[in-house]
């Protein structure tokens, strides 16, 4: 056990005691997001789309870079979406250098899943030449400060960044980044909501201590029309079917609020 884990464990009794009464360590309501601040086009000089987003003390940047490449053999007439999450030690003493941790991989994959499965990107419009050449949409989440709930924060930043992304001009096999051929073709705006189950209560948008000390976490992502597009349960605890149904309902509702407020 690392020292940091031991220190974290010391906070568990208080967190669970508060939760018994439905209360959270930072005083929020169970279904309340932390304050969200968005800097659009934060990386306007080098990225095709970008967004810096703060959710409480969680601080990150989503950057979109467009490159070209050959399509996957089984989808010769579709562009490609790639999502990565960099969680460097700059952002938390929890993180370390080296290949992406399982936590970073899961974070990136769940963010990717919602964007992909909501069909937010109209990948059929990202073909340059069928079978030969398509746009690859690279979303990179770069964490600056980690205080829990990277999935919701990262996905909202990514969606915001994608909505502002300009496709560079493409001529004679060359990308001309100074000129744009229009916006990225999008057709949905998925929203991710993550709940932490603490002492049988479910808290939306867990901050670091809640995320790490929770029995279980459930991420639910929904589309503009209120359908589900992705889910992920984490942690060693469990959810009852009725509990999941309730959270699905709440997620769809919260998704609408967030979409209205920020997109």
């Amino acid at each position: 056990m690392e020292t940091s884990e031991v220190l974290l464990a010391l906070q568990k009794p208080r967190l669970y005691e508060l939760a018994a009464a439905g209360a959270r360590i930072d005083g929020r309501k169970p279904d309340e997001y932390r304050q969200i601040t968005i800097d659009e086009n934060f990386i306007a000089f080098t990225a095709e789309g970008s967004c810096r987003l703060r959710m409480g003390n969680t601080d990150l940047i989503a950057g979109v870079k467009l490159t070209t490449g050959t399509p996957f053999p089984d989808t010769p007439e579709e562009g490609v979406l790639m999502t990565g999450a960099e969680l460097p030690p700059l952002a938390s003493s929890e993180f370390s250098f080296g290949p992406p941790s399982p936590f970073a991989i899961e974070t990136a994959r769940v963010i990717d899943r919602g964007i992909r499965e909501s069909k937010m990107l109209d990948v059929k419009k990202l073909v340059i030449e069928p079978k030969e050449s398509v746009w690859i949409v690279n979303i990179d989440i770069q964490a600056l400060n980690y205080d829990g709930n990277l999935i919701d924060a990262g996905q909202l930043a990514a969606v915001k960044a994608l909505l502002s992304t300009k496709i560079p001009k493409y001529e004679d096999g060359k990308i001309i980044r100074e000129e744009s051929s229009g916006n990225l073709p999008t057709q949905d705006k998925p929203i991710s909501t993550t709940f932490a189950q603490v002492n049988k209560h479910n808290f939306l948008d867990p901050k670091f201590e809640e995320e790490r000390l929770a029995d279980a976490l459930l991420t639910i992502q929904s589309t503009e029309k209120g359908a589900l597009c992705a889910m992920q349960k984490q942690g060693t605890g469990s959810f009852m079917p009725k509990e999941v149904e309730g959270l699905v309902e709440e997620s769809i509702k919260k998704g609408k609020e967030i979409r209205k407020k920020f997109l």
Binding site: P100, P102, I105, E106, A227, S238, M240, P241, V248, I252
Partner: protein, 243 residues
Amino acid sequence: MSSNTDVQLIKNGKRLSGRKLEDLREIKIQPGVLDNADGSCYLEWGNNKVIAAVYGPKEAMPRHTQNPLKAVMNYKYNMAPFSVEDRKRPGPDRRSTEISKISGAALSKVVLLEKFPNMQIDVFVDVLQADAGTRCAALSAASVALADAGIPMTSLIACCAAGKIDNKVVVDLDKPEDNHGQADVPMAVIPRTEEIVLLQMDGHLTADEFKTAMRMAIDGSKKVNEIQIQALKEKYQGELNGD
């Protein structure tokens, strides 16, 4: 899920494989198949073939991973190079890393880890042949392998996916259904209590469709659980009877 949904997967209420919407594929479970492992299980599920091995509990290594309050659960899901149509390069990838993480967490709910402070329990599952639903097959086999290893658990866990094809919610998608389907919901539950210990979803489902899918996956898991129990009984009753 695929963006290509123009393949007709259900005709006259029957799926391409001849199954009804709520039918599982055939499942065979055989515990205790590997000599070196402390516990093991071979499982066939349709054309899926997986093998699970359990080593431990043993001292957790490297030492800084030791937890004085409980054992570390170390789950590794792996696909053999020849287990898929396009040969897979050996070694872990992002997908298997994610599956390993959430599957190990699911097992941690039922294994009495606090009985083994400073130890680790290794659960290795190799997918030998894949036909959609491998994470459910792997975790179902792992649960039996843990039982075969005599590791104390509050319950087996059982797994099953539900999904949507041709706008219908069905259980246990096979490869063609997974390739051309609209949604997939892999789940793992504690059968008796219906507690959900693994849950993922991708694709497109309304809240109502999801409810149906969740129910079908739970019911499917219970059927899987019966086969798990039957397989363990056969092995251990056999042993008691001196077979």
